[in-house]
């Protein structure tokens, strides 16, 4: 059992949990994730680590309600337990001094790009962070990320804050601007990572994307998480989760991610009892 020590509602339907998990905390590195089960009848879902504290023996996850399991998770309180948690899984983000790195996060992925930004800074990089959200209410940790980065650019789809538009707009301007960008790292919704990869492709700048396919075990046993990368099959949980965005078959990944949409909606309706379908 993994005890929840702190919960926070960071923004509409986005939650932070700090959880007691000393072993995971002692080994975690930027870019890694855990697989957890909310209850004994629950499914196993992967969540990327947002923070960890080896001294206090805690890890922090941030998630958005996107279906039955995350909805159930959001209902847990301080002092409750998470039934199972396995981690840290996956390869850590490759960190060295690249020069200037653009870190792009979409939606609540702002939480998981922070450890990457911090590690890149420690390795001596100049880091330009670009964060895009649908609307201002979904933004959190702006000041923290601004302090941790050399520069922060914000976009909202509806123009309620920062620049109006998609993260690809400022990214494109950066690439066309005077400063040379040595690497792009993107975390967020799959469509966003696809378009970031398309944006950087002409310039050939290495673009690392953190994939989030459906997973079951997270240890390389089932192949549920497989993705085509450069024409080869990779298991995202053990070979990834980060891959060269220019080589990923994005449409295939999105198709695999929607395999259970009907069942997800059904489960969500059962859980909320509202008859309201969830749209992610």
């Amino acid at each position: 059992m993994y005890k929840i020590l702190e919960t926070k509602n960071l923004a509409k339907s986005i939650y932070l949990f700090r959880i007691e998990a000393p072993l995971i905390a002692s080994k975690a590195r930027a870019g890694q994730f855990v697989v957890l089960r909310v209850s004994p009848k629950g499914e196993r879902i992967p969540l990327t680590l947002a923070e960890w504290d080896p001294q206090r023996g805690t890890i922090t996850i941030v998630f958005m309600i996107a279906g039955a399991t995350t909805c159930q998770l959001s209902k847990l309180k301080e002092g409750d337990n998470i039934t199972d948690m396995l981690g840290p899984l996956g390869n850590p983000t490759e960190i060295t001094n690249y020069g200037t790195v653009a870190c792009v996060a979409g939606g609540f992925a702002i939480a998981v790009i922070r450890p990457v930004v911090k590690a890149l800074k420690e390795a001596g990089n100049r880091v330009i962070s670009i964060v895009g959200v649908r609307t201002r209410d979904l933004l959190f940790w702006e000041e923290e990320l601004r302090k941790e980065s050399d520069e922060l650019i914000l976009t909202t789809d509806d123009g309620s804050y920062g620049r109006k538009g998609m993260v690809t707009d400022p990214l494109k301007e950066l690439l066309e601007g005077p400063e040379s960008i040595n690497r792009v790292i993107a975390i967020g919704p799959t469509v966003m990572m696809k378009f970031i990869s398309l944006t950087t492709k002409p310039s050939g700048i290495k673009t690392i994307t953190s994939l989030n396919p459906i997973m079951v075990d997270g240890t390389g046993m089932c192949g549920c998480c497989r993705v085509s990368v450069g024409g080869e099959t990779k298991f995202a949980c053990v070979d990834g989760p980060e891959f060269d965005g220019h080589l990923v078959d994005w449409d295939e990944l999105m198709s695999r991610q929607s395999t259970y949409l009907d069942q997800e909606n059904h489960a969500y309706k059962c859980l909320t009892g509202t008859g309201e379908e969830h749209r992610s």
Partner: protein, 482 residues
Amino acid sequence: MNKPKINRVEMPRQKADKRKGNFNEVAQGYTHEMAKTEASRCLQCKKYPCIKGCPVNIDIPGFIKAIRDDDLPGAVGVLKKDNILPGICGRVCPQETQCEELCVFNKSGNAIAIGRLERFVADWELKNKDKVKPVAVSRSTGKKVAVVGSGPASLTIAADLARMGHDVTLFEALHTTGGVLIYGIPDFRLPSEIVGEEVDNIKALGVKVELNYLIGTIESVDELLGRFDAVFLGTGAGLPIFMNLPGENLSGVYSANEFLTRVNLMQAYRFPEYHTPVKVGKQVAVIGGGNVAMDAARSALRLGADKVYVVYRRSEAEMPARREEVENAYEEGIEFIFLANPTRFLGDEKKVLKAIECIRMELGEPDSSGRRRPLPVSGSEFTLDVDVAIVALGTNPNPLITSTTPDLKTTRWGTLVCDEDTGRTTCPGVWAGGDVVTGSATVISAMGAARRAAVDIDKYLKGDYIRPGQYWRESKGEEPAE
């Protein structure tokens, strides 16, 4: 030829048209009366040929005699001395190619039903725990052993070492113990409660269990060696093999491991009460001809598929699956397409599987496995409309541990190089057994390997003998075929 006076007693089974709609056990077990009749057929041969067919050398005539003499606690004692998982083995061991094959009545098709009797005794014990003496545990030696994995190999060695007085901790990556017994083999052949009960018996010997504990990630083997006196790797062969065909990653294409894990470990057949979904195909194709393929096909049918095909590249005679399971599958209405092999998976515009393209095969000269090699017949392609495909072509060991333990040598299939008699790997202080050494094999062979390793580890821990230099020598054994 030996002929018994009475024939082998049949075991009641759920009728095919009923069982294909549920996940309850197909074979229902002997009644006490049936077991006594069956036991009475045993000749108690002086040379007990059956025991030679058992990888863990159960005293078969001994436990059968106890059934006959109405001494069921005695039968439990005899069985459990050599096999700590009788309820499991009685259900899933291929007795027809082991103990029963060597029974003097086998030639007349009437071998004593040793497996069914074993299951009967185990099931009796579960209902009569108070009547059975607990297994004796030796005085504590103060030695600590880490056992990685919790499949049949690990459970067996944990029990043996605990009985010898060692302090054993099991480390399992998943959230439940049992390995393939719990995530692979479906409830209609091996109910998870049976696995749970037998695991509880092992825990009762003082074995500690750490779940959600992935060795190689949370802790390396070298780190384990720092805090344990010996390490045993029973990590199985859990990495699914794919064919590298076009379209293999379309939505709707599963590995058998994923499909069965969803259905068994995660209980997706009870969705949404259990939260893990699985795609219920209308038309399902399972690719492969082993036990795993049969389990996947029969599970797909039970989930509600209209039509389930098994596509196998050789002919029926070469199928590695147990005969009994193939017959069960036929009875339930699974359609077999022999001498055919997929060439690609076809998807719609949304990259969702809609068909597989296969090619007809013919059998050529025998290959290294002794079976005739299947060869494609050019121009014979045909398509099969399916919305779910399950690839059941075998598994290799997961490289997670070997990639973080440089001292562990592997074969080109990723299996561990290891001394067959003792289970010693090439890394001092580390033993291994089961599928991680042999590649996918059987429950009982994994248990046999574990028992041999337990004897060796016990000697090592008691300091009985030390032969430096050749201690962790390399195997002379053959590399596994196919």
